[in-house]
């Protein structure tokens, strides 16, 4: 290809690019003078591209990786960009992914699982840096079934020996509320429903902390709790206008899903708040129910430490009743006995403070208790003689076989 310029030696314009062995040289065709040589370009040979060659390409790094691994890494990087994660997370996730794929137990899994593996690596990275990312989010991004994701995640955790800290609920509040649409005016949202984000986030976090102190969070899925807490905090910030709005409507307006357990969490939260309200001096005169207590959530949260201490007996050594509701607690502190006890619609035993226990212990489901091994059972040696009659009861007679054969048309 003819290059421009003129040769400094002879002035000829016939400059040619030629390669001496493998080194590119700009040579004058007339006198043979070498003008330039050995340019280590950082651009493609066809110079119209003028693009920088990436390190991984020039060093042949990419060629060393299998196509599957390359695709997986690209997928991981794309997901990180979608989630707006810092670049450090991306690198960590990619390194986990590479480690995992080299592991024999993941080497040969299906492509679907390999894609899930990429998502799991991102999930683990986020959790290790306390970045609140729920499995639900990752599963929806990967279009994956949660059971499959769960199995891949657990095997990844075991094989690579990763320690993953628990999800921080307080951080989850912030990110979950980011997806709510109630913080700006919009056409379909009535004016009194719009709320200030900071206030709502702060109050929701307080309610979530209250829930975790009162055993409503342990063992439960975190997102319904956050949703229920957000609803309560939103209602309590402007109760006059918002008490009539139902939970379902709130979620529709906010543009979030209403997970089924959220109703139960809301009920549990309201029950806790009602118990606390019964301890607040200026609220005792009112007949509180689940609707009216919402108006006073602000006060209740403000004095929650004091109220929790009084509303629930926190000595948990002697109080070992699983089934008995609060009225049966023998060690109830006398200070908690109040005079004007509020009446609750359904439950009468609100008077004495109930022990602070998880809901599964307060309302135990009636279960068939398998009887403990009786003494006769435990005397079995395993080598007893087996009577023929006992065995024969399990065998079919000939007529039965014939009938069965006819009915089922055994081949």
């Amino acid at each position: 290809m003819a290059a421009r310029g003129s040769c400094p030696a002879c002035g000829s314009a016939a400059l040619v690019e030629d390669a001496h062995y493998a080194q590119q040289q700009l040579v004058c065709a007339a006198c043979g003078c070498v003008l330039a040589e050995g340019l280590l370009t950082t651009t493609y040979t066809e110079e119209e591209h003028l693009r920088e060659v990436a390190y991984s390409q020039s060093t042949g790094q990419k060629e060393q990786l299998s196509r599957c691994l390359q695709r997986g890494i690209r997928r991981v990087q794309d997901l990180c960009k979608v989630l707006h994660l810092p670049t450090m997370f991306e690198e960590t996730a990619v390194s986990y992914f590479q480690r995992a794929l080299q592991h024999p137990s993941f080497h040969l899994v299906s492509l679907e699982k390999k894609e899930l593996l990429g998502g799991c690596c991102i999930f683990v990275t986020c959790r290790q840096h306390n970045w609140p990312l729920t499995m639900g989010t990752i599963c929806s991004l990967l279009y994956a079934k949660q059971e499959l994701f769960a199995s891949v995640y657990l095997s990844l955790q075991k094989e690579l020996g990763l320690s993953v800290p628990a999800l921080s609920l307080v951080d989850l509040v912030k990110t979950h509320l980011n997806s709510f649409r109630l913080f700006q005016q919009a056409a379909d949202i009535p004016a009194p429903f719009v709320e200030d984000k900071e206030k709502m986030v702060a109050r929701t976090m307080q309610i979530v902390e209250l829930a975790s102190e009162t055993w409503l969070v342990t063992g439960r899925h975190p997102v319904p709790i956050v949703t229920a807490a957000a609803f309560l905090s939103w209602q309590s910030l402007q109760p006059a206008a918002r008490l009539t709005c139902t939970f379902a409507r709130f979620c529709k307006l906010a543009g979030v899903d209403l997970p089924p357990p959220a109703h139960l969490r809301l009920k549990e939260l309201l029950d806790i708040l009602l118990r606390m309200a019964s301890q607040l001096a200026w609220l005792r005169v009112f007949n509180m129910d689940r609707k009216t207590v919402v108006k006073h959530i602000g006060d209740l949260l403000q004095h929650r430490i004091f109220l929790l201490k009084n509303a629930f007996c926190l000595e948990d050594e002697e109080e070992q009743h699983d089934a008995a509701p609060g009225e049966g607690s023998p060690g109830s502190p006398p200070a908690a006995q109040e005079e004007g006890c509020p009446s609750e619609g359904k439950r009468q035993h609100e008077d004495s403070p109930r022990p602070l226990l998880p809901p599964c212990l307060i309302n135990p489901r009636k279960r068939l208790r398998t009887a403990a091994l009786s003494s006769s059972d435990s005397a079995i040696t395993g080598n007893e003689p087996i009577s023929d009659s006992e065995i024969e009861q399990y065998l079919r007679g000939p007529e039965e076989i014939r009938a069965f054969r006819k009915a089922k048309a055994w081949p």
Partner: protein
Amino acid sequence: FKDDLSTSPQAFTPMSPYDVDLPIQTTEDVLFGSQFNQLKELPADFSSVDLSFLPDISHGNKEQNLSENNHEMQKELDGSISRNEDSSIFMDEGSLSYPDATQPSPEASGVCPPLTSMTPMTPVTPSSESSGIVPQLQNIVSTVNLACKLDLKNIALHARNAEYNPKRFAAVIMRIREPRTTALIFSSGKMVCTGAKSEEQSRLAARKYARVVQKLGFPAKFLDFKIQNMVGSCDVRFPIRLEGLVLTHQQFSSYEPELFPGLIYRMVKPRIVLLIFVSGKVVLTGAKERSEIYEAFENIYPILKGFKKSS
């Protein structure tokens, strides 16, 4: 012998010139078995300390010297002394019955100070008090080899308690009422028996299944019966803060409330997996022996008790 004692004030070498190779140590092991094997403070020269419980014949200044020595010993062997107090009761009886035990002469013996002369010490509480709760076995899985090829269709036809759906699963599912168990019988002759509440029940049930197969006309044997897994459960009777437990025992625990409401604790020794729930119920699985379940529970109980006093 006063000299002997004074020349070795810190000595834990035998106080008497006689070779006191009393087999007291072995007795100790036998009597106190596993509980004290864990405690590492057992000094190597335990025998020297034992000597203090040889029959006490003459008191006097020997006693005085001994009590000096005892003070030093107490300073150094805090825990083991009190164990000695316990063991002394056995030792006195034991030493009398040992013919080998060279009963040193009164003067020679490190004169046994009566127990009262020793400075009373607070007894060492064992690091793990017994919880008083015994896990109940809920399920035993065992396998046995009937050592003959089986025709599963034939079995399903001739047995009332069998179900066989080759499209779903390649084995016959057979059940018996007593002991209430279920068996998976494969055409290779291998069988899995599940649902029993004790090892003996599992064995009895497996034998009954083998008898059924025999009566159906197959030359079934009963080879290599082995318990593969035991599952137990119990209730510690107080709620547990799973979030706290996963923080302090991160390397063993896995707590994902989005996936499962319980905490999965993988204990290393014994190799048992525990499912711990907020209600205080604990499920233990992965054991091949009953003792592993009990041991695992005794290991986890003090850890769980640490999370009992919640905010």
